[in-house]
Amino acid sequence: MKKRLLALLLIGILVFTVVGCSKSETPADTDEPTEVDDSGEAEDTPAEEPLKIAMVTDEGGVHDQSFNQSAWEGLQQAEEDLGVKVDYVESQQDADFAPNFETLLDAGNDLIWGIGFKLSDAVRDAAEANPDQKYAIIDFSYGDETPDNVVGVVFKAEQPSFLVGYIAGKMTETNTIGFIGGIAGDVIWGFDYGFQAGVQYAAKELGKEIKVLNQYAESFSDVAKGKAIATQMYQQGADIVFHAAGDVGTGVIEAAKEQDKWAIGVDRDQNYLAPDNVLTSAMKRVDVGIYNIVKDLTEGKFPGGETIVYGLADGGAVDIAPTSDKHVPKEILDEVEELKQMIIDGEIDVPFNEETYIEYIKALE
């Protein structure tokens, strides 16, 4: 037994000596300044050093075909256009969020992004602990409690959802339409109620009744569940299903392909996933939102302490997909353009939660 203990001790010692040796070698080999020096330089000479901007993803990683990827594309675009230096860290577990923010802080970044409302607690904690560091978060608003060094970026997802809802209402032949949400909450409710409002707007115009089937997958990742729910909705007579559920939507679009029905994509132009079955997409351009904030930062106008809200009026951050003209008749698209203008002008107040939706329906009648 003693031998065993000794062996263990030796493992410990060896691991640490191996570590110790190579540690003393490496700094001499590398000409690069250490991380700490980097940050010091960046602060001292902001004009000469390119700004460093980085983001922390959730478990999806930067190649998730969705939210994180879109964010990373926005940063890469900024790197190309604005001459900033960009980077990312992927989280493998929820417990990684906080250390990842710290890693990026120590790497001397000028602005650190948290991608998605999942990271909202980690961003707030990091921002409060490091009041001199700039942070930003996508899809979350701290409201009046936004720290001065944080910017929240949110999207009026209800507006493009309204437009695709209108298209769906105009194009349905069975007068039944489906909506599949991810996990219930402010973000997805925006899609949900905006969409329903659009459908009912079209129904009123056409003078008929359209039923909206509504279900939440309670997941943003369960592809099989998305497929099952969508298949069920198509069997209940829906001919168009809109999803706002991240990767769950991959299953929804698959189901549409199999049943040869329509699906409506979300976040990105998802027509490429099933060119003959994706009618249109409600785009929420995370990349545009990120790009704009980075641009503000390079111009020295970082809107700290604020929440930036992107709607239809704000330069293409939310919109319907450009490929919509493949399947949607031109006259409907023209009407959509009119509606868009009405929303921008404030003539239509698109509802974004249950309360505003009830008001909206009352006003509509």
């Binding site: 037994m1 031998k3 065993r4 203990l5 062996a7 263990l8 030796l10 493992i11 410990g12 060896l14 691991v15 191996v18 570590v19 190579s22 540690k23 070698e25 490496t26 700094p27 080999d29 590398t30 690069e32 250490t34 991380e35 980085a54 478990e59 980077d87 990312y88 860290v89 992927e90 493998q92 577990q93 929820d94 417990a95 990684d96 906080a98 250390p99 990842n100 710290e102 890693t103 990026l104 120590d106 790497a107 970044n109 409302f117 999942k118 909202s120 607690d121 602990a129 996990i183 909450g185 402010d186 973000v187 309670e218 997941s219 943003f220 990742s221 369960d222």
Partner: protein, 370 residues
């Protein structure tokens, strides 16, 4: 033999690092710079060391859990599920119970252990009563645990709005070291003047690491010096001989899985009470249990060996996460390195396993021919 195994482990680690270096070179990164970044990322600041320990703590415990079951001849693939159940129950107790500090975390930890013990015990029961292989049941129980946890988190009074996670545990249930003092005015003022302590305490340092070390010693002691440990090991070495010697095998199988489950449940509880403070809706398994299997392998199923093995594992993972933001090398390189280390550690074990299987078969044959 013992030294032999130790040498094998060290050589495996070195070989793993070498293969990792080759992969890095092929991918176009200077391995010396990369390893330098990792080492500095783990050791150059007290807070990095804190993070490494925090990261390693659950792995020590899940490693012990797997190692303990293995000593009884059982493969506890279900550490992941027991971890999930342990963290879920600890969160429930941490949020819904209103108890004074000190008592609250103890109750929450015991509840988490108990839940993990039941979860592991189910697999033990199925094995002893119906002969169902524990590998199959524990894998299935992992998924059951995952979906059960998600189901409970979606329960209205428990789910936090606009967040795909549960409510956070109450402050009284926290096991963070000086957690409240750190954010109080007096604490902030004190830490401002003491940068070493400030850095060290900046991450959510908690009592989990101390608990893990105590558990490692306790389990080592149980296995080594108690009747129970002797019986469990006897069952692991040779079931038939143990039965012949008057040891109740069924009881020991259930007990072994229940204890293994309790340790994994404890890992989940300390993670919740010390670090995450909540149970998130899980899309996939987070891997604490599976990493525990790897830790246990590296440690050659020695409970005390799980401590350095988990620290190595946690250090590689945490240090590896610094590669992307500094030199742009993906974290996958580190996963390859870890994989290779385990592969090399496992290969002599594989040979041992074949030898021991042969031995077992022979034993069966003798019995059959009677």
């Amino acid at each position: 033999m013992k030294q032999n195994r130790f040498v094998i482990t060290v050589i495996s680690i070195i070989l793993g690092l070498i293969v990792g270096a080759i992969v890095l070179s092929i991918a176009g990164y200077n391995p010396r710079v990369a390893y330098g970044v990792m080492l500095r990322g783990v050791f150059s600041n007290p807070k990095y060391i804190s993070w490494t320990i925090i990261r390693s703590t659950p792995l020590i415990l899940t490693g012990i859990s797997v190692a303990f079951a293995f000593k009884t001849g059982l493969f506890n693939i279900g550490a992941e599920g027991q971890f999930i159940i342990g963290s879920l129950v600890a969160t429930l107790v941490g949020y819904f119970f209103h108890l004074p500090p000190i008592i609250h975390p103890i109750v929450a930890i015991l509840a988490g252990c108990f839940a993990g013990a039941i979860w592991g015990g189910i697999a033990g029961l199925l094995k002893s009563k119906f002969g169902i292989n524990e590998v199959i049941t524990t894998i299935m129980l992992n998924w059951t645990a995952l979906y059960f946890s998600n189901f409970v988190v979606f329960w209205e009074p428990f789910k936090r709005l606009n967040r795909d996670a549960s409510e956070r545990i109450l402050d009284t249930a926290s096991i963070q070291i000086l957690g409240q003092w750190k954010t109080s005015e007096a604490g902030k003022a004190f830490l401002k003047s003491n940068s070493f302590l400030r850095d060290l305490l900046n991450p959510p340092v908690n009592f989990g690491f101390i608990i893990a070390i105590l558990v490692a010693i306790l389990i080592w002691h149980i296995l080594k010096n108690t009747t129970l440990g002797y019986q469990l090991r006897a069952v692991g070495y040779n079931r038939d001989a143990a039965e012949y010697g008057g040891i109740n095998i069924n009881r020991n199988i259930i007990l072994s899985m229940a204890i293994a489950g309790a340790i994994s449940g404890l890992a989940g509880a300390t993670q919740v009470l010390g670090v995450s403070k909540e149970t998130a809706i899980l899309a996939t398994m987070e891997g604490y249990g599976f990493d525990g299997i790897a830790v246990s392998l590296i440690a050659a199923s020695n409970p005390l060996g799980c401590i350095p093995a988990a620290l190595l594992f946690g250090g590689l993972k945490y240090g590896g996460s610094k590669l992307q933001p500094t030199i742009g090398a993906p974290i996958e390189v580190i996963n390859i390195t870890i994989g290779v280390i385990i592969l090399f550690v496992a290969m002599p074990k594989l040979i041992e396993l074949i030898i021991s299987m042969k031995g077992r078969k022979r034993g069966v044959k003798i019995e059959d021919s009677k």
